[in-house]
Symmetry: C2
Subunit: 619 residues, 2 copies
């Protein structure tokens, strides 16, 4: 059974590999995977084109205002948001696997970008984008996708909730029309407290209007009239489109209002102000920059970015893989390909002065709702962004900052995962610990370190789990003709942290007088792994037992563990492979005197081990 199992495992894990990251051997398949258009291209027809067009345009209407807003969040001027929005869309068409994903600025990455590059030059953000892309690409090439599995859901939701909260608070500045520099949750509130007196009435009014409007229209999405009439259907379509275009709508309207006031010579709102017109200067990412009247070379910039070079891509990958999984419909998500695609999006993006980008959950939801069918929808989005850059940039001057702040707030408040607390409490209360630790750590010491803290807690939990396996100790007395014995059953693989625990539990049975002269049987049927430390621990366990003349038998060793234990050098290493076998041994113990004589036991053992080997081959 065991051998069969291991065989089928091996076969299976191969299957897993071949399906998970399809057999790299057959190149054709490999190319099809690395260049997905070969899969969906051949079957591309007018129907798909139509639905992609609708989706692409809808996403564009969500993306453009988001891009401008997130640029502000990242501490960059508006155009950088748009610079970041088209390269990704085009690249993802060629490399992406998940039609719903739209690569562009996202709230999380913008926040990280701000944390790592604030008070410096935009070049830093662009370089960060480039380096993040490199790392993501490497992760893809070396199949490091599994790394993201080590971030548990509780930590992710703790992280996103905290980030969303920080982002929302960062918008108070815009909502009230205040001017101050602040990074980090605490400082924001300190600054707000100091400047709240300078709040500008009209900005507040505008913010309130925008937020309420956005939230109201958002509700409209779920509002449906009866679909029995064509009029009803069109109405629903209209409502839905109207709801998804809400950001664009609000921004346009507010900008128009601001424009009218301006033409009357009044500026009641804080405006976005002058921004570079037209497309970005194309060129390699900047490897030197200067701010604070001093120049920095490539290495200085990297040193300045520090951990951001790794944290940013990890968050980026996390986001993309999460989205891909959410829309996978039970298909295997090709994390490797996703990472490669994301990597190229950032690398190529950095040639168009992009800041770090990844898929945004809000946009993916929109494109899914818009019935997207292939990644080709990205073309329309990308084109819209380019058009916006070419023709609309002059008008971005008039977008009130309060409006952008409102757009961001309405986007992120739904990222705060209060809803997850209850299910966690119900399913496994212990999971609330990493969640809350991560949440508060993010608020207090910054999202990037908060995440690391959370992962550390995760790791600690897993380590503790493998250090304290369930060890069942039973006193078996009811088998006729067999003397009573103690049965110790570890529940899972014995990795090195667990062996000391096993020794302790076993030694404790000896503390009890009544038990101390019973033979002890360690049932290893559930132990599939063992390492050198374990081997050593068991060796001294056997030594201990020999010292006090108590018998210890290792029952139902799995071949892999047996291979390890066979290197033990002590003679009295008794194993049994079946219950009958075990009972035979136990009877043998009672016949002879309590203190085992090596010879007799060796004989015993040789007999057993032979029978064992037969049985092993038999099963």
């Amino acid at each position: 059974m065991v051998t069969a199992a291991r065989w089928s495992l091996r076969r299976e894990s191969d299957a897993a590999r071949s399906a998970g990251q399809r057999c790299v051997s057959c190149t054709k398949n490999f190319i099809r995977r690395r260049f997905p258009p070969l899969k969906w291209g051949p079957t591309y027809d007018s129907h798909k084109a139509a639905s992609d067009a609708v989706a692409g345009i809808t996403i564009g209407l969500t993306l453009i205002p988001q891009a401008i807003a997130y640029a502000g969040l990242a501490g960059l001027s508006a155009q950088y948001g748009l610079y970041s929005s088209f390269a990704g869309s085009f690249v993802y068409i060629l490399l992406g696997t998940c039609p719903e994903v739209n690569i562009g600025p996202s709230a999380l990455l913008s926040l990280l970008t701000f944390n790592y590059t604030h008070d410096t030059s935009p070049e830093m953000a662009v370089l960060l984008c480039f380096l993040a892309g490199i790392i993501e690409l490497l992760c893809g090439i070396f199949h490091l996708g599994f790394l993201v599995e080590f971030v548990s859901l509780p930590v992710i939701s703790g992280f996103t909730s905290a980030a969303a909260l920080i982002i929302a608070c960062a918008q108070i500045k815009g909502l009230l029309g205040l001017k101050y520099k602040a990074e980090g949750f605490k400082e924001i509130w300190v600054q707000v407290y100091h400047h709240v007196g300078e709040a500008r009435t009209w900005d507040i009014v505008l913010s309130v209007c925008c937020v309420t409007t956005l939230l109201l229209i958002r509700m409209l999405k779920d509002f449906k009239v009866k679909e029995d009439t064509p009029r009803g259907r069109t109405l629903n379509k209209f409502f839905w489109f109207f709801a998804n275009a809400r950001n664009a709508l609000v921004v346009v309207v507010c900008a128009f209002i601001a424009f009218i006031f301006k033409s009357k010579g009044e500026t009641p709102f804080v405006l976005t102000g002058e921004i570079d017109v037209g497309l970005p200067a194309v060129g390699p990412p900047p490897f030197s920059t200067s701010f604070g009247n001093s120049t920095y070379g490539f290495m200085d910039m990297c040193r300045y970015l520090g951990s951001g070079v790794f944290v940013t891509p990890i968050i980026g990958i996390l986001g993309n893989v999460a989205i891909a999984k959410a829309f996978a419909n039970g298909k295997v998500v090709d994390a490797t390909q996703e990472m490669i695609a994301l990597g190229f999006c950032n690398i190529i993006g950095s040639f168009f002065r992009s800041m770090p980008v990844n898929g945004s959950f809000s946009r993916s939801a929109v494109s899914n709702a818009s019935g997207v069918l292939t990644p080709f929808a990205g073309v329309y989005t990308g084109v819209m962004v380019i058009l916006a850059l070419t023709f609309l940039t002059p008008y971005f001057y008039y977008i009130p900052k309060a409006t952008l702040a409102s757009v961001i707030i309405c986007a992120v408040i739904f990222m705060v995962d209060i809803g997850k607390v209850k299910p966690m409490w119900k399913s496994n209360k212990r999971d609330l610990v990493p969640a809350f630790i991560t949440f508060f750590a993010c608020l207090l010491i910054g999202v990037e370190y908060g995440l690391l803290v959370g992962v550390a807690v995760d790791v600690a939990f897993v380590m503790y789990g493998s250090a304290r396996p369930e060890i069942v100790v039973e006193k078996i007395t009811d088998i006729p003709g067999v003397p009573p014995y103690l049965k110790v059953t570890p529940d899972s693989g014995l990795m090195f942290p667990a062996i000391d625990y096993l020794r302790e539990v076993v030694s404790c049975t000896r503390a009890d007088e009544k038990l101390s002269n019973m033979p002890l049987v360690v049932d290893c049927v559930q132990v599939h792994r063992a390492d050198f430390t374990v081997m050593h621990g068991i060796e001294s366990l056997i030594k201990d037992f020999k010292k006090c003349g108590q018998h210890i038998v290792f029952h139902r060793l799995t071949p892999s563990v047996r291979r390890v234990l066979d290197t033990i050098t002590i003679p009295e290493f008794i194993t049994s492979s079946s219950d009958s076998d075990l009972h035979h041994i136990l009877r043998g113990f009672t016949l002879e005197d309590r203190i085992p004589t090596d010879t007799k036991l060796e004989m015993e053992m040789s007999k057993r081990s032979s029978s064992v080997s037969i049985k092993d081959s038999g099963v």
Copy 2:
């Protein structure tokens, strides 16, 4: 069975606690544990006193020269070695549990002390001792003993081997009578290369003599004449004592030779030189110091010591616990008490200007061989050290550095664990990875970071193990009346890193056309743990299956896992608690059409879950 198991586990783990760290409730026991003399004191008799005296004096003869040598290794002048040698001996009598352990300077801690405090004042070393003691005490109080279990044997031997090698190389200076400053493996050799020209003939001669003598006498230990005559017995006793006193012997002889030369006005060897005479000035550990003509406050000193404040106590604890285990003879080692004892040894020691101390394996071996019976032997050792400080310090001036270097080398070369490589290779080749990584990391980036790297590798291995459990997939076709189905059996607890892997493996079975329309059974009998992430993963697994109209059944859920999965909100969550139960369900599937209709399945489920609940209570 399962419930019974968990119950017996709970009972057992209590037992473990009560035996491992005896029930804190009953104070009497508790005090007996925290103050061990109450255990061995009452039965202390003249016989024990005699053997303790012999052992204590023998250890003293090993300790004193080692202490002087290790002081040099730590970059301190000779007397600090002795300052570090008596407090520990006395404190351990009152708090220690393991008679063989002798607390004092050890090669590893001296090396660490040097790494963290070289080019500063001795006050730093004393403060390090104090802080290390505090940490060790806290570890004891908060039962953090299990932390040392997370350092696997391969890492420990990689670490000790590298440390021993570095220590040995650091002695070349003394052996050749060179003068240079060097820290770290590489720099040592660079310096040796530059200064080898200045090697002093007489020192080399002396070193060669000392090393050969020490190694030869060491062999004498195992040399035995026939014991049939009393003369033979006394001879053996003499040989043995002679062998264990070898360090003292060699040091005395060499010092005497140097003294004679000196009286003739010659100094062929580099000598230890002037050292403070008499006992140390007793007082609280220094909370400020000054070196490099600038003064440092407490915080500055802590900042300077940095990670040493944590690494030193960890290594100290590791050493002590390892020794205690080695001599435990199958008794449960009370790690907590060991840490408390070690903590007090360092804290109190720091009032006598001690450097960090812990048990030394070489001395423990000696005391074990000298037939020590209780920790009281420490009294004799401590008194000897005090006598040495009071009367002998003037003569330490004459001890040649070459001799001390030889003493150290002969002590540490046997710490290089080449012997462990072969068994590791035989038992579990993978264990060589952490061993060698640790070894080379220690040589290249310093022992303290090397150890951390090693632990990181250990953790990575355990994490990977729990991220990739063995998942056995079998196609079951041979059960009469039951349609063929796929059986997926994870081998151990599903922690969050594993669930994605499970999903992948399962989804891969679907990649295969023939399998994709068989019902899939996940046998959870070996799954004892599950967390929120897992619950979520399984929820989407069920969703996936629903999408493609394939059935999934969760077989033999353990109560703990069931509790978690019961929070899943989807209706089609089918469980079976026994094979007959499972077969019934599978037959049900074939009767109905392939695509499951919720109603029917809900009916199915309710039926099952009722039977399940009954069965659960039954077991």
